[in-house]
């Protein structure tokens, strides 16, 4: 007992201050990418060098950044030799609509809160069911991390449950492999309405690194209506938490956050 108490004291309280304060990331952290049109020389050299579909060209010839396709690899930024694409350390990226992840400037339409009735239902207690469907296991590792003492999503009333019958929504990771397609649809069917669908990671959004493989369906969009899109490969736990809290309308507005940041220094 004494040893236990000693260990407990030594471990201290490690829960992150999030969503209060501004989270800190190491300088090399690759968060939300930005695109600076003024630096783009229209040389189109990036198209051959880009290992993902991060940068797409519209029929009108305008470059569009697609966060949903981003694999957050250093090569994607380097595909532009004049430095028009770069990664910031900003973690907030989740969008409520697939279109919200596309932008010509790097300003994205982040997720808005659910309408009032849904918020009254889910706002203080959200039960989710995880369905893994053709992933590498990386997104699931970060979903699991949401339950650890640092990120501790349970303090917001968010929990993963053992049956779709107990769930308010499903979280889908992976590109939807042929062998999992049926299980994805049946889990969705088994979730009582109203229900949310949350697509987590590049694979679930557009196939990720496996895009184009005959064994996967290039994401969940073709199968189910999605309420929240969380980009990343895999998304950082704070990107996930930020998206969930945005959806639930539980995120303090940016001004309050900034004010809080000035008064409470964030623990690492």
């Amino acid at each position: 007992m004494l040893r236990f108490l000693k260990a407990r004291l030594r471990q201290r309280t490690r829960t992150s201050e999030f969503p209060r304060g501004t989270p800190e990331f190491p300088d090399r952290f690759r968060g939300r990418p930005v695109f600076e049109p003024s630096r783009c020389g229209d040389c189109a050299a990036c198209r051959a060098r880009m290992p993902s579909d991060l940068l797409q060209i519209t029929p009108a010839g305008r470059p569009v950044l697609d966060l949903g396709a981003c694999l957050f690899s250093p090569e994607e930024a380097e595909a532009c030799s004049s430095g028009a694409i770069r990664f910031t350390t900003e973690h907030a990226m989740a969008a409520g609509a697939r279109e919200g992840l596309r932008s010509t400037t790097g300003e994205f339409q982040l997720a808005a809160a659910l309408e009032r009735k849904a918020r009254a239902l889910f706002g203080r207690s959200l039960r989710l069911r995880s369905v893994v469907a053709g992933s590498c296991g990386g997104c699931e590792a970060e979903l699991t991390a949401l339950g650890n003492v640092v990120f501790d999503m349970a303090r917001f009333g968010i929990q993963f449950v053992a049956s779709p019958r107990h769930a308010d929504g499903i979280v889908i990771t992976g590109a939807v492999s042929t062998n999992m397609r049926d299980a994805v649809l049946r889990t969705y069917e088994a979730t009582p309405e109203p229900r949310l669908v949350i697509a987590v990671g590049a694979c679930a959004i557009n196939g990720g690194p496996f895009r184009g493989s005959p064994e996967v369906g290039d994401g969940v969009a073709a199968e189910l209506p999605v309420d929240l899109w969380v980009p990343g490969c895999p998304p950082h736990p704070l990107t996930l938490l930020d998206g969930l809290l945005r959806l639930l309308g539980r995120l303090p507005d940016p001004q309050a956050r900034r004010a809080a940041a000035e008064t409470t220094p964030n623990k690492r």
């Binding site: 090399r28 952290f29 053709g134 590792a141 999992m180 299980a183 490969c233």
Partner: protein
């Protein structure tokens, strides 16, 4: 004198494809069977397209105590006599060959699919209706008071998909069959077809918790085929990242085992400390799993002196915090009694099934690529091989704890003495018509990649063997006799990858 002397095949060395013997089936069989009986072990055994009607079977074997690798091959039509009846460790490889290449190993005792997908490395075009598999023929136990329990593919927690079918008598497991393939994404075919910049991102996504391990194996295979030499600094940074990955996962596994027996303090503390190791990888690479770091020719990110110092300080702090928690857990009588004697894998079963990694070392089979087939940093700096003997959940936990301690010390030591030099060199195109084998001791065990190039230097066949491919069979044989309620704990003590297996 070994059968494969003169071939000169070693870990991360490339040899001319023409040097790989092509034997008639009888000679191939004799070579493989006699090698395995005299202490060799199968690393990779796969088929590749050859001509319009035939498939070439390639076997890559290892002799661990001498650090040697061997290879041989044979050409078959649509069937051949299975080798499994003589060498049980080939049973899963031959199931895979049957599925990928549409070649039937006749006389295989249990020829079930591995991943349930249409043949993607077959010589002949897919017959109509291919890909529609007959229902998986689970073995069943009949009798009074016996029953069947089906679990998955969607699990109760946040777990990758797999289907487990238990045959049970009351709470006692009589048998289990594990049906996988739900995560099949067609990794090998993708790697064979895409540009190198994209291929390395796919290699990082073979198993998302083994980014450094699989990217390291991929890049080393490419480097061997391109005759590219990494600098000592690049090798050191790769070695540091590999051990950080091992630390994160081993610490997380101890926490998960504690969680499964409801020992919450250790589950919470280890869970948090796992994150500290991921954050160290993020400091170096910008990603918590080390994505973006390992690239052909070296590494993308340097560890400058001030970063090395900061990382070292954080690791010292971690070392101080780890020991009290590990002792709290592993010295606790109620924890010991819960873990002891559960999920036992014997050394004999381990050898018969070709088990690798932590699961092998926990039953005193000291297989460790870092020691047996040293490469990169591990040729100059050695980590002792950690073993235990009981082969149960406790032994697998102890091996992890021993490895955690050794890896922390190792990383601190390496950070203090990083060699000078460049971190990345140009990696040229691949040499035509060669074969390279690249092995890494990932945190789960031996990762093996085999690459064969065609006469224009393109990848003709890329074979990936994740340690999970070997070890799922180990979990299945360790379970009978245990309670169904102990399954999660046994499963966690192996902690195998679904994605790495399913590819």
């Amino acid at each position: 004198m070994s059968r494969f002397d003169g071939l000169g095949l070693r870990n991360r060395r490339s040899i001319p494809w023409a040097a790989v013997p092509e034997e008639p089936m009888s000679g191939f069989r004799e070579s493989v069977v006699s090698a395995i009986r005299s202490g060799w072990r199968m690393v990779a055994y796969f088929g590749m397209h050859e001509g319009s009607e035939t498939t070439r079977l390639v076997a890559v074997l290892a002799r661990d105590e001498r650090g040697e690798l061997g290879a041989t091959s044979t050409v078959v039509g649509d069937r051949y006599p299975a080798l499994t009846p003589e060498c049980s460790e080939l049973h899963y490889f031959e199931r895979e060959i049957a599925e990928q290449c549409a070649v039937t190993p006749e006389g295989h005792p249990r020829l079930l699919p591995v991943r349930r997908h249409p043949p993607d490395h077959a010589s002949r075009p897919r017959p109509a209706g291919a890909g529609v598999h007959p229902p998986y023929a689970f073995s069943q136990v009949a009798g009074h008071e016996t029953h069947e329990v089906a679990v998955g593919p969607v699990h109760a927690g946040i777990i990758e998909p797999g289907h487990f079918r238990f045959q049970a008598h009351g709470e006692e497991i009589l048998g289990i069959e594990i049906m996988l393939g739900y995560q099949h994404r067609g990794v090998e075919t993708l790697l064979e077809g895409v540009e190198r910049d994209r291929a390395v991102l796919i290699a990082e996504s073979i198993a998302g918790d083994t980014v450094i391990g699989h990217a390291g194996a991929f890049c080393s295979a490419v480097e061997a085929l391109a005759r590219s030499r990494k600098t000592p600094r690049a090798q050191a940074i790769r070695g540091i990242a590999l051990e950080l990955e091992r630390l994160a996962n081993h610490i997380g596994d101890l926490g998960a085992i504690a969680g499964d027996i409801a020992y919450q303090p250790a589950a919470a503390y280890f869970g948090r400390m796992r994150g500290e190791c991921l954050n160290l990888l993020m400091t170096v690479s910008g990603n918590r799993y080390g994505r973006g770091l390992v690239r052909p020719g070296g590494v993308r990110f340097d560890i400058p002196p001030e970063m090395a110092k900061e990382m070292s300080e954080r690791l010292h702090g971690l070392r101080e915090e780890l020991a009290p928690v590990a002792n709290l857990m592993l010295d606790n009588a109620s924890v010991q009694s819960r873990l002891e004697g559960v999920g036992v894998l014997s050394a004999r079963q381990c050898l018969e099934l070709g088990i690798v990694g932590v699961a092998a070392r926990a039953c005193e089979v000291p297989r460790d690529v870092r020691h047996d087939h040293p490469y990169g940093l591990f040729r100059f700096a050695h980590i002792p091989v950690a073993t235990a003997w009981a082969g149960d959940v406790l032994a697998r936990s102890l091996v992890r704890w021993l490895e955690i301690q050794r890896s922390v010390d190792f990383v601190i030591e390496q950070l203090a003495g990083l060699p000078r030099g460049e971190i990345r060199v140009e990696c040229a195109g691949l040499r035509p018509s060669e074969l390279a084998v690249s092995m890494v001791e990932g945190w789960r065990g031996e990762i093996a990649h085999v690459a064969v190039t065609d006469d224009r230097g393109r990848l003709r066949r890329y074979k990936v063997v994740d340690p999970s491919f070997h070890n799922w069979s180990g979990l299945a044989v360790a379970l009978p006799g245990n309670q169904i309620s102990d399954f999660p704990m046994c499963n966690k003590s192996f902690n195998l990858s679904y994605a790495g297996h399913d590819l």
